[in-house]
Symmetry: C2
Subunit: 210 residues, 2 copies
C-alpha cells in the first residue's frame, strides 16, 4: 500500500539529500540544479515547488542535514559519563567510524561538509555564513562544556580556557580532515586522520590536572 503516487514529504527529503550530496562534492556554486534533479529522478517543477531557489535549498541542507550530522558525529559521543578527557579522546578515536556511518564510505574523501560550505561561502553569502557560524558555535559549546565539567570535577587543569581550547580542537580536527581529503586516497586519508588523532590525544592528555 506504499505505492502512493505522491509523497511530498519524501520527495522534499529526497531533493534535500540529493542536494547535500551534490553540494558536498561540487560545492554550492559548482552544484547544478539539473544534476540534483537527475539524481532524484524529479524535475524542476518539484524542486521549485518545495524550495524557492538554490540558496534556500542550501540553507535547508545546512539546517536539516549538516547540523544534525555534526551533532551525531561530534557531540553525541560526548554524552557519556566518563573522564572528560577520555571522552574527548574516544570522540577522536571513533570519529572516522562515525563519519563513514553518516556519509558513506566513499564520501569520506569529500571531507567535512560543514567546512566545505563555510570555506566556500563565508565570504560570499551572509545567510550561509551565519548558519555555519551557528553550527560551529554549537560544536564548540559542546566541547567546552565537557572541559568545564572536567574542571569542576577537578580532572582538568583550572588554567585551561575551555572555549579557546574547544576552538583549537575543532580547528585542528577540521584541518586534519582537510589534509586527508586533499590526498584523495583512502589509505593516506585514514593514516593522516589517525596521526592527527594521536597528536591531539596527546595534547588532550596535557590538559589533565596533575
Amino acid at each position: 500500500m506504499n505505492k502512493r503516487k505522491r509523497d511530498p514529504k519524501a520527495t522534499k527529503r529526497a531533493l534535500l539529500e540529493a542536494a547535500f550530496e551534490e553540494m558536498h562534492k561540487h560545492g554550492f556554486q559548482g552544484a547544478s540544479i539539473s544534476q540534483i534533479l537527475a539524481r532524484t529522478g524529479m524535475t524542476k517543477g518539484a524542486l521549485f515547488h518545495h524550495y524557492p531557489g538554490k540558496l534556500a535549498l542550501a540553507y535547508a541542507v545546512l539546517d536539516e542535514i549538516v547540523e544534525p550530522m555534526i551533532v551525531e558525529i561530534w557531540l553525541v559521543p560526548l554524552d557519556i559519563r566518563e573522564d572528560p578527557i577520555v571522552a574527548l579522546q574516544m570522540m577522536l578515536q571513533n570519529s572516522v567510524k562515525r563519519m563513514t556511518n553518516q556519509l558513506g564510505r566513499n564520501a569520506l574523501l569529500l571531507g567535512c561538509p560543514l567546512n566545505h560550505f563555510a570555506q566556500e561561502m563565508s565570504p560570499l553569502d551572509e545567510g550561509m555564513r551565519n548558519r555555519c557560524n551557528r553550527i560551529f558555535s554549537r560544536w564548540q559549546s559542546g566541547i567546552a562544556g565537557v572541559l568545564l565539567d572536567g574542571q569542576s570535577q577537578g580532572l582538568v587543569r583550572a588554567d585551561v580556557d575551555a572555549e579557546n581550547t574547544a576552538m583549537f580542537l575543532i580547528a585542528s580536527i577540521e584541518g586534519a580532515i582537510n589534509m586527508g581529503k586533499q590526498t584523495q586516497s583512502l589509505a593516506r586519508c585514514l593514516e593522516m586522520l589517525q596521526v592527527c588523532g594521536e597528536h591531539l590525544s596527546l595534547y588532550l592528555e596535557g590538559l589533565r590536572k596533575n
Copy 2:
C-alpha cells in the same frame, strides 16, 4: 620610455594575478573569466592568447603564485640558525604579518589560497590535486627538516616522528586559518589565529628534549 603600448610579460602577469585574486575569493569554479578580465582591463583575446583555458590559468596560479607564497610565508622564516622549536614558534608568531604582507590586509579573511584550491578541486581535477599535493609536501618537508635538525642537535625528542608532526602542524595551521576565515570578522579572525598559535606553541614546547 616605459610607455610601450604592449608588454606581454606584464600583461600575462597581470592576468595571472587577477586570476589569483578572483579565484581566491570565489574559488576556481566560481571565478569568472569576465571578472578576471574586468579586473585587468584586458579582453579575452589577451587571456586566451597567453593561456589555453581556465584550467591552465589555474595551474599557473598555483605554480607561479600560490607555491612561492607558501614558501615565503611558511618556509623562509624557518631559515634561521636558531633553536628549531623557537624557530617554529616564531614562524607561527610572525605568520599573520607575513600573510597580510603577501595577501594584503583585506584578503586575510579569504583564508589560505592553497587550502581553498585543495578543498574545492581535489576531488574534481587531478592536475589541481597533484599541484596542491606537491606544495603541501614541500611545506611538510621544510618543517620536518627543521625538526630533524633539532633531533640531530639533541634539542628535539628522538621519539618525535618529524614527518607526522610536520603534517599535524600544517593541518592545525590550516584549520586555524579556516576557522578565522569562517568568522569574516578581522578581529575575531586575528583572535582565533592568536589562540591557535599559542596552543600550537605550547604543543611545540612539548617536543623539546627534557
